[in-house]
Symmetry: D2
Subunit: 458 residues, 4 copies
């Protein structure tokens, strides 16, 4: 296994990364990436064990509902790059299981690749969303054929791919890109039916990045994002060669969505698991700030906290439903219920903004207007800030201001935009998740209950 | 065990029942009660076993999470009087467990009473909501002290109670009334801290009843309520003597809400379990009528069905959460998680009207205006009704009309009012359930997550 | 003008009406129609003036915004048949205005017809929704060509039509049916592009009716629907001859939706106007029952009443918006803003169920379980009902029970189903109304504001 | 009148302003304030007229409903400081009208002060929200008596005040602070019943400021907030002397909330007026980005845009309702309907987050991950960004990226937090606005409608 320091060194590998119009010569020294790389490095150090055959907990596949439950709770402590790596492995296991009968070679390659990742203790980024061009048109009908990543040349030793992938988290601070089609391809679109693995520093790979990290700001004003903001990349494949052993799909349109579906399932489950903590944290912030403001017993505030509590509890219930109704593959691997996972993700996305709104209502405008901690430290203004920001015994100005800053950083500033989008669109948007839930629902049982009501049963 | 016929006979016991301003001399021949009594009698017959020591499945207490899960699915097939009896037993077990240390006599009496019920194979009604008078005032401050049921006389052999209880389902068609305070009594209100068991035909008990059964209507137009409408009773205790062995609480205000809380927990869980079937049935009706109308593929209708599906799935998830997080009492009895049960009940009540609205939107106005089946049978109008109510091969006028009538009966007529109120207010209103959920939520964990975000942890 | 008695007589005209599988020989003596006919007759008497040239207020067309506002408030006092007649006239004026240039003959015929209605002081029913068959298919692709009303024969003196219309309010108790296509017809569907006027008693017209009137019930238990329930009819046109002077559209598909659109606009406006009263009434019921229960100052109940108040106020605001933004036709007639009318109707339908739910939550279960007034009058139960249904000085049992019964009748029983469907689907469903609102919204202004934000303006 | 340049000069007046822990020596050169001061200066220049008696349009009081309507549309073009000044004037007119009978001197002083403001062409900030301390306690019960601004000394020539006011917009870039109690004071709290005017540069006034302006960022990435972000101030009154002619309330607790109520009414109306533009702009962004993505005809996206359209339209309707139902004071001044204004503000705040969520769903993740314009300009990455961010003819990469950046800046970044809080809490939170709406609703009319339904009218 690698240590955090070894991990940092591994990122200086010639990768072509761009930020704010400039090439980033060394990602480990770019302030905009510092939070993500520090977090990942802490993850390496936290899980490091010196035994030669030691592997991180993210390289494991649950074989019972209890193991699945344990993993879904454990992952909330992992860094994001490790979570993505875990989801990539679970996706590969699931997809391989689904493809094994027809395409054993792809299944073996994918599993071999992940064994290599485990051995090398590296991190993978899931690379799925294409540029898409005009969304009304399918890949083959786009004016620019590269608007979906495609195979532009097939060689005996591998293939050459071209295109771009958007919204790629943990690419800048990871090692491997797992590339897959963003959706099912139709007949005649075999060039776009590609899945495979590409090193971040492969020739022709370029990362154009964005970040919500508060680079130039006072860290004290950004207690959360200063530690946890992660960069997003637009990953460009400018005629990148992928050797055969790293190709997991090559033209078989009937399996073109197998990878995306497998990833979707695990990503939404992980997302749900994480969202439970997010929701609980927001409930916690509401309690703390209501108490600090002296408002904890006001009826309408208690009701709002009650509403938030119900939201958080239903998410936790849905995770339990997804686990209790999990299925077991022929190989003995456990996969969560798609019905519960998708229904929960839809519900979470539909109503997330309401708990944020209620938190803001409870906290009040000082979320935005509370002075900086530097104003509290200032000899000129400190005494006033101290005097007017404290509220009662046990609630100092600093304590309350830190709460306000945290609420702003987490729910009403740049990071909040990222959190809100991830909640809404992570693993696909709510419209798709509702449709998947509908598809996996037991419609026949429902119709039978309906027929009984109508007296339409024999 | 009793047969259905024996059950019917047992109801002719001198009980004083009133309906629509008249005394009902024999409840088994009153049309307004027919559905409820027939349903209960079917339940007796379905579960009848001739062995001398046989007992119905509603007289069992779960001792593991799996047994609890099994019971919560099984009860959906029981008649309502049996469900109430089961909940009464579970309430008694739970309350007895909570009271045993301080009041072993009450605990023993309650358990002995339920063993007697089991032996006699009779049905119990939970009798909880008081008349309440002016809701702003507590029992002892009401102008009329009887607005909450109270002990008016204490004798060596028992007590005499007076008052009235509202919304009592399964009293007319049951045998025993389990009486308990509707809420916690304060110091000085020991007269109102009474719990006990009273036979429906005890001297001084009078039942003033209402019913949503479609007494005078064409049964074909009410396919559901004609079979399942149950009467509600206002139960009057006009100085009723309760012997000591049937008294389970007698003045101990500190335990005055133990019974209500124990009942609330089991009633809400059973309610939730039932609501899952209701929600699934409504989803099923939506599918059937959308298909019958040729609208199953219209985007906004698919989305509405998806929304309904998410609702139904979250209820099922919450039941799973309540079971997976169930607790075990010292005696080895399993009790569901109050957090999940109450959060689910709140969510169900808040959003039930939306799935009904969406079903109506999908079904269209013919829910109300579809002709009667007698119009279809008529020689004068049958040909027209047949011609204009059918829509395509496989969808006859009769099939579609039966669906419309069922949707009206179940969701847009008198029974629908009953279903809607039960969903909203059964086991207490949503305001109370949100508060209970909030109380049982792990606030400390939430606060800890919040402190971590704010950098307020050591 | 006619008196109420003359109106009653006019309905005994040989019309073929069927109810519950039977021919109704005389509609004025059928109990299921009594409320509607009594209400209409009261309307005749209330507005009767003996002068020879007197006309009812429903036969007027607003020529200024103030006149439109006055009319929209006045119509809330009219009976439903008069409202339909008014809307028919306004529809005719609007449609005639839109058709006049291309089809002056139709415009003249429609106006002449309405002048005749005014002279005869009769009532018209809007006859629009077809049987529709398989909704996925257009009229000409239905298996049964009659699933949309169509012209089956064209003669020199008129046309013969066949088909059925559903959900026709005020047909049984009105005189004339104004028939129009339910939607825009395509090229090749000219046979279905028919509009015209047909007397209810014309040869070949048959009405198969339904009713939510509480025919067999205690009137005291149905204080509202006993007076205001109206029958709905499925109107069958079994090869009905329509003379030329009563034909307003005959094959011109490009105008096939002109009538429906004109009616939709006025029907939704009238609907909105009525819904303001409905919403205000529900707020009023909430206040009265909260006060009667002693709950008027409980925070969550005040909030619910506040939510209901906001709903009612936004409907009133939207009516004001529709009037303030009304347009004036070349002829000087005022037509309401479609944007505001449709947005309001959509909002009203989406949220109506919430105010009903909140009313039920405030009122409590006695809405369903309050004894009958006959139980209060009974010598055996009256004293108990009186004792336990009253709550405080000024709130007698009878007063409170009447409130409960009214809430049940109006919002939780058969009439409530009718009210709920009318709110949801009257003038077309919410999906259509949202689309119409979108179409009439000033998108260009919105885009311009967006471009300014984005710095995309020159 | 002043020019923009003269306005800038006027701000260099010795005012004590602090930002990020530092004293700001000259507010006109602080980058964090640049947007606000530039915007205000543009407002001066736009409205400048050289005539000696010229006055800005914000110094006018509507005397008819049409004038009120005109003003509410005009103000959307004004800068924020001018809007605040206008609202201050309208507040003074309204409060003076309400106080005139009992306290003519205060009324005269307030009007004289505003005439002076008009003559000097200066800008005022409304200074209302106190530090509040423990919210559960009233001002006189706070541990620190200064947690609400109070009079600490009364002299013959004026009073000395102490305390702090939070969330003060347009103080840094304005000239005068209009100070008033944040709520009604009780008997014995006359020291806190103070209203008056204080120059920003008065001795003892200190402004501790915050800003969401993207100070260090690429302006192109913040197309909106770079121009329109305004600083907020915590205003400290460290024993500030206020001469008598600037004191508008001095201990009269019975009028202590007159100023806040008057301001609330005008602030909410102006807020509503502004929110209509905000809502329309968000609808416009949704249309533009849906078209740019090729998604404008996808059903669920059209529905979301329809939902947003209904929201925007109801706000516009409510403004119309507030104006159409405006009242006229004895002096001939027009004041908007509080019922409609507050109902609209409540509705706007409750649902604003939904239209933002829907915009994000329509726009997709590129709102966050779209590369910077500098990446498009870069010789290394420009060709790729151009290739993959464009979608179809007419939608260049730059155009689409500017839309994404605008959506992020306006709805998902630091400015978005400010906009969201302003919408939610501007003019007080939704809980208060619902209560005010309830208070101004015609409850008697509603009860009368309810009584008619219940048959409870004579």
């Amino acid at each position: 296994m690698l240590t955090g320091a070894q991990y940092r060194d591994s990122l200086v590998d010639g990768r072509q990364v761009f930020f704010a119009g400039q090439r980033v010569p060394d990602v480990t020294t770019e302030p905009a990436f510092a939070a993500a790389i520090d977090w990942t490095a802490r993850g390496y150090d936290n899980n490091f064990r010196p035994e030669p055959d030691a592997v991180g907990p993210y390289f494991s596949v649950p074989r019972s509902r209890d193991e699945l439950r344990t993993m879904e709770h454990a992952l909330r402590q992992w860094d994001m790059a490790s979570i993505a790596t875990s989801q990539g492995l679970l996706m590969a296991v699931t997809a391989a299981s689904r493809m094994r009968a027809d395409h054993p070679v792809y299944a073996e390659r994918a599993m071999a690749f992940f064994e290599g990742c485990q051995r090398r203790d590296i991190r993978c980024a899931m690379t799925i969303t294409d540029a898409k061009g005009n969304r009304r048109l399918s890949p083959s009908r786009q004016k620019d054929a590269d608007h979906y990543v495609r195979i532009v040349e097939t060689l005996s030793t591998g293939v050459v791919i071209r295109g771009a992938k958007l919204h790629i988290t943990s690419a800048v601070n990871g090692h491997e890109l797992i590339v897959m089609p963003t959706k099912r391809m139709k007949e005649g679109e075999s060039a776009w039916a590609f899945a495979g693995a590409v090193p971040v520093n492969a020739a022709g790979v370029k990362l154009v990045t964005t970040s919500v990290a508060p680079v130039h700001a006072d860290p004290a004003a950004y207690p959360y994002s200063y530690r946890y903001a992660v960069p997003e990349a637009m990953v460009i494949f400018d005629d990148v060669f992928v050797p055969n052993e790293r190709v997991f799909l090559c033209g078989e349109v009937e399996y073109s969505d197998t990878w995306a579906h497998s990833l979707g399932m695990w990503e939404r489950l992980g997302n749900l698991s994480h969202l439970i903590d997010v929701a609980d944290a927001i409930v916690g912030l509401a309690h703390l700030i209501a108490e600090a403001n002296g408002l904890a017993r006001v009826p309408h505030i208690r009701q709002k906290i009650g509403d938030m509590t119900v939201y958080a509890t239903l998410l936790a219930a849905a995770l339990e439903g997804a686990i209790s109704n999990a299925e077991v593959s022929p190989e003995g691997f456990v996969t969560p219920s798609e019905l519960y996972t998708n229904a929960a993700k839809f519900y979470a996305a539909e109503h997330f903004h309401e708990i944020v709104r209620d938190l803001h209502d409870i906290a009040g405008g000082a979320v935005l207007t509370a002075p900086a901690l530097s104003d509290l430290a200032s000899s000129e203004t400190g005494q006033y800030v101290e005097k007017y920001m404290r509220t009662m015994n046990g609630v100092s100005a600093e304590y309350r201001m830190r709460l306000f800053h945290a609420i702003r950083d987490y729910t009403a500033d740049a990071y909040a935009g990222w959190l809100s989008f991830t909640t809404l669109l992570g693993g696909g948007g709510p419209h798709a998740q509702r449709a998947v839930a509908t598809k996996h629902y037991d419609v026949e049982r429902a119709k039978q209950l309906a027929r009984e009501i109508a007296g339409l049963t024999p």
